[in-house]
């Protein structure tokens, strides 16, 4: 049973903006030479499987990206969206009750690749914070060829983060603790959420997109 995922609701609208045809089933392969002069092709994914990027539970599943996608969808019930743009609303009627680390994971499918979008509530030295960031389901080398933006707006203010997705070789906790994403205090998040109704509800609208740099 997922511990805290019930507390957050996502209302998402996906904008499908595919600029050009997407190639599917691209498995990178490398040729390497070992000290014995034996050369061979290695399917990186199969030889060096990734850990399941679904954090929170102690899921120890490993596999290549294709297998992990099935696993995330079927076993962890993670939502998958097509397209490189997205727009989510994170709503919580009583944000003070969010536990130490509450988070949401959504998958994005674009450019023939998959990305993990994390949204998380946590405490940084007793200050409640929210962080959103993206990780690439693949190796770091390919991850650096992408960039992404995340934008929060509301109440006459807007904050935008532009970054490079980290590879899922880095655990989600590593990325979170390095604060490599869009990070705001809960106080500011509530300010973004403020409307005329005076409620202290969290109503964060986060939108963004991914693109390939080169």
């Amino acid at each position: 049973m997922e511990p805290r995922i019930n507390h957050l609701q996502i209302e998402s609208q996906v904008h499908e903006l595919l600029d050009y045809p997407v190639c599917t089933n691209q498995i990178t392969s490398t040729i390497y030479q070992c000290s014995n002069d034996y050369t061979g092709e290695v399917n990186n994914d199969k030889e060096n499987p990734y850990n399941c990027p679904y954090s929170g539970s102690k899921c120890t599943a490993t596999g290549d990206t294709q297998w992990l996608l099935q696993h995330l969808r079927n076993d962890h019930h993670v939502e998958m969206h097509d397209g490189r743009s997205f727009s989510h609303r994170y709503v919580h009627h009583n944000p003070k009750h969010l536990h130490h680390a509450t988070w949401m994971l959504t998958l994005l499918d674009c450019y023939g690749r998959q990305f993990c979008l994390y949204f998380e509530a946590f405490h940084l030295k007793k200050t409640p914070m929210y962080i959103a960031y993206m990780q690439f389901m693949g190796d770091e080398e390919e991850a650096t060829s992408f960039s992404y933006t995340l934008e929060i707006s509301g109440n006459g203010r807007k904050m935008t983060w532009q970054g490079v997705p980290r590879s899922i070789r880095d655990s989600h906790k590593t990325v979170r603790d390095s604060q490599d994403g869009l990070i705001i205090t809960r106080k500011l998040a509530l300010y973004f959420s403020a409307d005329n109704s005076n409620s202290k509800e969290l109503k964060l609208k986060i939108s963004g997109c991914v693109w390939r740099e080169h």
């Binding site: 940084l124 914070m129 203010r157 807007k158 904050m159 935008t160 500011l188 300010y191």
Partner: protein, 322 residues
């Protein structure tokens, strides 16, 4: 009414003109609708020269502040405010008799019907208030002078905007810039030494207005952070006609903030504590600084612009009903 007996050394009375801590005068012909139809139990409002004498009676003999309920008196009838009563050790400061717990209810009731102009009448405020709501209005009066926006010290200087701009430039030696865009580098060789708040203020002059750009290093619960935000030298309503953006970046990452400048009516501390600006944790700021990441070399760029639409419509208001 014979005013001579009310003279004090600091004031003089001439005809209908009353000088009181400065100058104001108000005519005694102010009438209240239906004054003649008021029931006998209601005292008609006190205006004109009488108002001043009653107002003076409401001044505490010890601290000279205006007295508010509960107003006390001694057996001989000398009045005292509740704050001072605590401090005089049960002795009337006027006649040295022992103080009881006698309340001067009559004076409190007379004050209810006292009406006085706002103390900022000479700066343009046309309003007149009952004694008990005057103070509240004066704390919010739009004509009241602005406080010096210089953060850090508690500079008590007040005045209008042109005066404060000169004051910032000449007395606080603040940098002045003409134009609506900026590109600053904040450099600190040992960023670990940020103990208390360290901050910088720059004033921008554009669109015929003045803006204060604050850059500050301080401790937020989560550790050391840097914050940059803009304040408008004027009132909140006018501040909403403007927007500004701030951007920091480096190493393939960029953080952008867009918002509405706060009025300098909101203190620097209040804006800072509301997190209403660009906030970066020190680690991220050092990351943006590049190099060995031990030195802070943060480049902050930004611009100010005037919103085309009406200030009320909120450019970035999300459609929360969808």
């Amino acid at each position: 009414m014979d005013m001579d007996s009310m003279e004090s050394s600091t004031r003089s009375v001439q005809n209908d003109e009353i000088h009181h801590n400065g100058t104001f005068h108000f005519s005694s012909t102010k009438s209240h609708g239906g004054g003649g139809a008021a029931s006998p139990a209601v005292v008609t409002n006190i205006v004109g020269p009488t108002a001043t004498s009653v107002y003076e009676l409401l001044e505490c003999p010890v601290c000279t502040c205006s007295m508010y309920p509960p107003i006390h008196q001694c057996h001989n009838g000398h009045t005292l405010c509740s704050t001072c009563k605590v401090r005089v050790h049960n002795r009337c400061p006027t006649c040295r008799q022992e103080l009881g717990d006698i309340r001067c209810l009559a004076l409190e009731k007379v004050a209810e019907s006292l009406e006085l102009p706002c103390k900022f009448y000479n700066l343009g405020c046309p309003e007149i208030f009952p004694y008990y709501s005057k103070l509240k209005h004066e704390s919010l009066c739009n004509f009241r002078p602005y406080g010096c926006p210089y953060a850090g010290s508690e500079c008590g200087v007040v005045g209008d905007i042109p005066f404060l701009v000169s004051h910032l430039r000449d007395d606080h030696k603040v940098d002045m810039h003409a134009g609506s865009t900026f590109n600053h580098r904040y450099v600190k060789s040992n960023p670990r030494e940020v103990e208390n708040a360290t901050w910088m203020l720059t004033v921008f002059h554009c669109f015929g207005q003045y803006f204060c750009l604050h850059f500050e290093a301080f401790q937020l619960g989560m550790g050391p952070v840097y914050m940059a935000f803009l304040r408008f030298m004027g009132d909140e309503e006018e501040a909403r006609s403007y927007s500004y953006s701030l951007e920091v970046g480096g190493s393939g990452r960029k953080l952008t903030w867009e918002g509405t400048p706060r009025s300098i009516r909101d203190s620097h501390r209040k804006v800072r504590d509301s997190n209403d600006g660009l906030i970066i944790q020190r680690n991220m700021a050092l990351f943006f600084s590049g190099g060995d990441r031990k030195e802070l070399k943060l480049r902050v760029t930004g611009k100010i612009w005037k919103e085309q639409h009406s200030p009320d419509s909120g450019l970035f208001m999300p459609n929360l009903s969808s």
